[in-house]
């Protein structure tokens, strides 16, 4: 690992002040992704600003929203009685990710900022437009069974690896970010971005901004929900395809529904067309099957990941079935 300057701070204000001072500075929270990338030479910041002592670990209900601080650990959120009761989908998604050791250290903000696990991104001998813009995409015609089937660009077919973010997209979370001048809110579905012509950018957080907290509105989705993650081994592996499904039933009709997928795009993939189709309909297998077909409308395989074209709709249907049989 190339050495770097290490700074520690206790307030968001001074953290932001330090960040804007230096183009090659990065925040250090749990470090479970960043330190790994630095060891592999994928990234080499000249300055790390340790923000672990900034008081942003709260998990609380304020009015009709749940607030979660950017530095709350993945395990603290997953094990929180409040989250288990009000937002069980989020708790399930978090427990499907990483390992118990990593979840103890990894933070909410860090989870959102984690980089893709594309093997071409990680291997510094390989071309990668995300790691080094202009060098090409090794995955496009290479080993791409883990890669995107939705929203891929000609420059990058990497996927966002998070489980937590799939649930947060489904739950209509908002991200509160701050710079030196003040705060702004970003709807979670707009926080991450598609690769387009600038795959080096994973999200819409600006260079002078820091993630402060999440705000998640209350809902009636704590009865019928499921996070279904399909992967190469039973635990501790990134998703081939995952589905966050939650709905509210009234007289057997779906009154509110949230569907999002992981492992299929450069960002958590919300299935709006499928949601709109299912709204007001009965929770039946045939409706679930039709919704799954709608979700696959613009899907495209790249050879190694063609199996996802079949796996994805099946996972949607199974996720909805499991959400239905939850009660």
């Amino acid at each position: 690992m190339i050495n770097f300057q290490y700074l520690r701070t206790t307030t968001a204000k001074s953290a932001i002040a330090l960040l804007v001072k230096d183009k090659n500075a990065k925040f250090l929270a749990g470090g479970t992704n960043l330190i790994d990338l630095m060891k592999r030479g994928v990234t080499a910041p000249e300055k790390l600003i340790d923000i672990n002592h900034v008081p942003l670990k709260q998990i609380e209900q304020i009015g009709n929203k749940i607030h979660i601080g950017a530095l709350a650990s993945n395990s603290a959120v997953a094990d929180s009685a409040l989250i288990k009761e009000k937002l069980p989908l989020l708790s399930w998604a978090l427990q499907a990710g990483a390992s118990a050791q990593l979840r103890n250290v990894a933070t909410v903000g860090g989870n959102m900022m984690q980089r893709t696990r594309c093997s071409y991104f990680y291997d510094t001998e390989m071309p990668c437009n995300k790691r080094q813009p202009g060098t090409g995409c090794g995955a496009m015609e290479g080993f791409n069974r883990m890669h995107a089937i939705f929203g891929a660009s000609e420059k990058c077919i990497a996927v966002h690896p998070s489980d937590m973010c799939v649930a947060l997209t489904a739950l209509d979370a908002e991200v509160v970010v701050a710079n030196a001048k003040g705060e702004r809110k970003i709807p979670f579905k707009d926080f991450h971005r598609l690769a387009g012509d600038t795959p080096q950018l994973d999200n819409n957080l600006k260079a002078d901004e820091m993630i402060i907290r999440l705000e998640i509105p209350m809902n009636n989705l704590a009865k019928n929900y499921h996070y279904l993650k399909v992967r190469d081994r039973a635990s501790y592996a990134f998703a081939l395809v995952s589905v966050a499904a939650a709905f509210e039933l009234s007289n057997n009709k779906i009154t509110d529904i949230r569907l999002a997928m992981g492992g299929v795009a450069h960002k958590p993939w919300r299935l709006t067309a499928s949601e709109n189709f299912l709204k007001g309909k009965e929770a039946t297998l045939s409706n679930f099957e039709e919704a799954a077909q709608l979700a696959m409308k613009d899907a495209k395989g790249f050879g190694g990941n063609d199996f996802k074209l079949k796996l994805a709709p099946n996972t949607i249907i199974e996720g909805l079935n499991l959400a239905k049989s939850k009660v």
Binding site: Y6, R8, A100, Q101
Partner: protein, 207 residues
């Protein structure tokens, strides 16, 4: 060992002079000083000073004061500086769990944590688990149930297993397997490891 500065024959380079000078104490990472340093564009001069950072932490109930380069991981610090080699380096990338230790009572991968991030924290390694010559119940259970073959993953498995019991994630074999999934055993001792954890849980001894 009080400080890695006490190595003999280190000579008196400019760097050593800086280390020994009182300046280093003054910039012991009080945030305001760090901020001031950055804001006054003193970065280059401070880069020298920041090359080694004062660190105080407690490992197995013993306090250590030293200075480390920021890039030194907690794992390397434990093994190379403190010579506590019970904690193993497997993949060094957070994928195998061989480096699992407890930080303030929680299990973590020491390979993905910088030593300097653990300022003031209490670390427990496999060496700190036994009570003198008396094995920790989890150590005894691993031996009884043959919870290992080559033994390389075992310190990490045991640290993780103790945390698993403390966390209360031992409701079923499936739950134990799920919460132990961050520890890989290439010899495949998994069923015996689960047996050992169940015995400790059912034994009801404080872990």
């Amino acid at each position: 060992m009080k400080s890695s500065d006490q190595k003999p024959n280190q000579g008196d380079s400019r760097r050593d002079f800086l280390k020994k000078s009182s300046v280093i104490t003054a910039i012991a990472l009080t945030p305001s000083v760090a901020v001031k340093a950055a804001e006054s564009n003193a970065d280059e001069r401070f880069a020298q000073l920041f090359e080694k950072i004062p660190l105080e932490l407690t490992v197995n109930n013993k306090v250590y004061q030293t200075t480390v380069e920021p890039r030194v991981t907690l794992l390397d610090y434990l093994r190379e500086e403190l010579h506590l080699t019970g904690t193993k380096k497997g993949c060094d990338h957070g994928q195998c769990g061989a480096c699992t230790v407890h930080v303030d009572g929680q299990r973590v991968n020491s390979c993905l944590s910088l030593a300097v991030m653990n300022e003031g924290k209490k670390i427990t390694t496999i060496e700190g688990l036994a009570n003198g010559e008396t094995l920790h119940p989890m150590q005894a259970a691993f031996i009884k149930h043959d919870g290992f073959q080559c033994g390389y993953c075992t310190p990490g498995q045991i640290m993780s297993a103790v945390a698993c019991v403390r966390e209360g994630h031992t409701g079923s074999r499936a739950e134990i397997s799920e919460y132990m999934s961050g520890n890989i055993c290439r010899c495949g001792a998994y069923p015996n490891i689960v047996d050992a954890i169940i015995e400790v849980k059912e034994g009801g001894e404080k872990v």
